[in-house]
């Protein structure tokens, strides 16, 4: 990725030197990309683990006849059918969930081979990858947390002010009209970003780690309060899955926003730190 360009900047009424802004500190950039690798592999190895028993339950134990959610394959007159059941509602998901193509063969598997690590059914390897990247993710998160507190990053950049909170509705409408802040207004995360990042950093990731730990019989003997907190091991497994799905949803929205609000500018700022503020809209300058 190119660093700050030094030639051919079009002449604008806004001074060139003021357009380039160091938007992301190095610790944010480094931990962000480590997190991208960890989350991707945790997700894919997690789906491999899920495939070993593709059903979720509420409580301490599995009531095999009454799962809250399940992905199954069964044989019908038309061949193998993939069926996904969520809270009693069944959907035909042949081709993606329950039944999908694996190396040219129609096979029974909950999640398809292109989203699991390894691609073929191998619980042992899936678990080993999952726990390795879980360690990396936790160490990365600890580094980020310590830095974020010590540098006032959380307070300065992520915590919305009372005034910013008051703009949630307006900001939301601006986003819907695909109008993104420029100039000085783009130096700070907008309030929707702040709320989304706070949710991911302080709610979703901690939930992933805690529900993951609750599934460990070893940890349960040391901290049985986790079972009380989440309502049993199987509920913890369900929350782990639902929270992971929420993070996938966040990543999709995050991707779309990165794409439509200036993909190179966003990518450059997350790699080199430099962000082009552009010309401020007349409405943005008071």
């Amino acid at each position: 990725m190119a660093a700050m360009p030094t030639h051919d900047l079009p002449t604008h009424d806004f001074p060139v030197a003021k357009r380039w802004y160091r938007r992301h500190a190095a610790p944010v950039r480094v931990t962000h990309w480590i997190n991208v690798i960890c989350f991707t592999l945790l997700l894919m190895s997690g789906l491999q683990i899920f495939n070993a028993h593709p059903a979720l339950y509420v409580g301490e134990r599995s009531d095999f006849d009454h799962p809250a959610m399940s992905i199954q394959a069964h044989l019908s007159a038309n061949g193998l059918v993939g069926e996904t059941m969520i809270l009693g509602h069944s959907f035909d998901t042949t081709g993606v969930l329950g039944v999908s193509n694996e190396g040219g063969q129609v096979s029974r598997r909950a999640f398809p081979s292109w989203v699991t690590v390894p691609s073929f059914q191998d619980l042992a390897t899936g678990r080993r990858w999952h726990f390795l990247f879980a360690w990396l993710l936790v160490l990365n998160a600890l580094g980020y947390l310590v830095w974020g507190i010590a540098s006032w990053h959380f307070v300065r950049d992520l915590l919305p002010s009372r005034e910013e909170l008051g703009h949630v509705g307006k900001e939301f409408l601006e986003h819907l009209r695909l109008r993104f802040p420029r100039g000085d207004a783009a130096k700070r995360y907008n309030v929707l970003q702040q709320l989304a990042y706070l949710l991911v950093v302080f709610v979703l990731f901690p939930l992933m780690i805690l529900t993951g730990l609750t599934m460990s019989p070893g940890i349960d003997s040391a901290v049985p309060q986790l079972l009380t907190l989440f309502g049993g091991r199987q509920t913890a497994r369900l929350i782990h899955f639902v929270t992971a799905s929420s993070l996938v949803l966040f990543v999709i929205v995050h991707f779309v926003m990165v794409l439509i609000s200036g993909v190179w500018n966003n990518l450059r700022s997350m790699i080199t730190g430099w962000y082009d503020l552009g010309n401020p809209r007349t409405t943005d300058v008071a």
Binding site: R128, I219, S221
Partner: protein
């Protein structure tokens, strides 16, 4: 069993492996030796941290009668067809003896009656399968620590190995049935844990064949595959390297972690 922790060489190999990850497919990286050793290092780290965090005597949660699963799912071998075992079933295990040998002061040979006459422990616990599901059952049996103190563990012993009556069909047509014989091993910390019992009763009735009759291990702070069923003999050893595949258990020889507390 190598219990070496994150070493510098492992870390360097890890960096190389992660670099390779970006370039080639995950499947190929997964089977590359440097990455395997990194995965082993992660498992060692989990073992070390959990041992530090949990302590030797913390008990696994125990439940009430009302929590017991109506249908406890058996897994692994559920109906062994090995001839010696079928003969034992025919005679209701009257000829069965639990042999305790290896690095012990006194070898033992105990009948089911003798085991039942020893002080027993009953516990209602949650069984967590590596696949992800859980069932709750009530188990009665002799604490392993009691058997080991009768046999007298020699100071050089480090692992307790459970040799089982069942062989599994692992999909490969093996000529030698011993290559698919079930076995498991635990360390002496878990062997001394009060909830580690040799169970002969389940939910108040003698163990049935699907659940491991006549005797199975309960190891409540680890996953189901550690809890050997159809136990024939218990051996105390210094190292598990010379047994079967050398990684300390049937599933361990097939890629699963030796420490299954997670």
């Amino acid at each position: 069993m190598s219990r070496d922790h994150l070493r510098r060489r492992d870390l360097l190999q890890a960096l190389v492996a992660i670099g390779g990850l970006a370039l080639s497919g995950c499947d190929r990286v997964a089977s590359a030796p440097p990455f395997r050793s990194l995965l082993d290092a992660a498992n060692s780290l989990t073992y070390t941290v959990q041992r530090l965090l949990i302590g030797a005597h913390r008990l696994a949660p125990e439940y009430s009668e009302a929590d017991i699963s109506p249908a406890f799912r058996p897994n692994g071998s559920t109906d062994p067809q090995d001839e010696d075992y079928l003969n034992l079933v025919d005679k209701h295990f009257a000829d069965w003896r639990l042999k305790v040998h290896g690095l012990v002061a006194r070898e033992l040979s105990l009948s089911l009656e003798e085991l039942r006459s020893l002080a027993a422990r009953t516990q209602i616990t949650r069984h967590d399968c590596v696949e992800g599901w859980s069932c709750i059952g009530k188990w009665t049996g002799v604490p392993l620590a009691e058997i080991l103190s009768r046999a007298g563990v020699r100071p050089e012993a480090r692992f307790v190995v459970f040799h089982c009556a069942d062989t599994l069909d692992d999909g490969e047509s093996s000529v030698d049935p011993e290559s698919t014989r079930y076995y498991e091993s635990i360390d002496l910390i878990d062997a001394a844990h009060p909830q580690t019992i040799l169970a002969y009763d389940m939910n108040g009735k003698p163990l049935t064949v699907p659940h491991g009759a006549p005797l199975r291990l309960r190891l409540e702070r680890q996953l189901g595959y550690k809890m050997a069923k159809y136990i024939m003999r218990i051996e105390l050893v210094r190292s598990v390297a010379d047994l079967h595949g050398g990684r300390g258990g049937y599933w361990e020889d097939r890629g699963y972690e030796w420490y299954a507390g997670i």
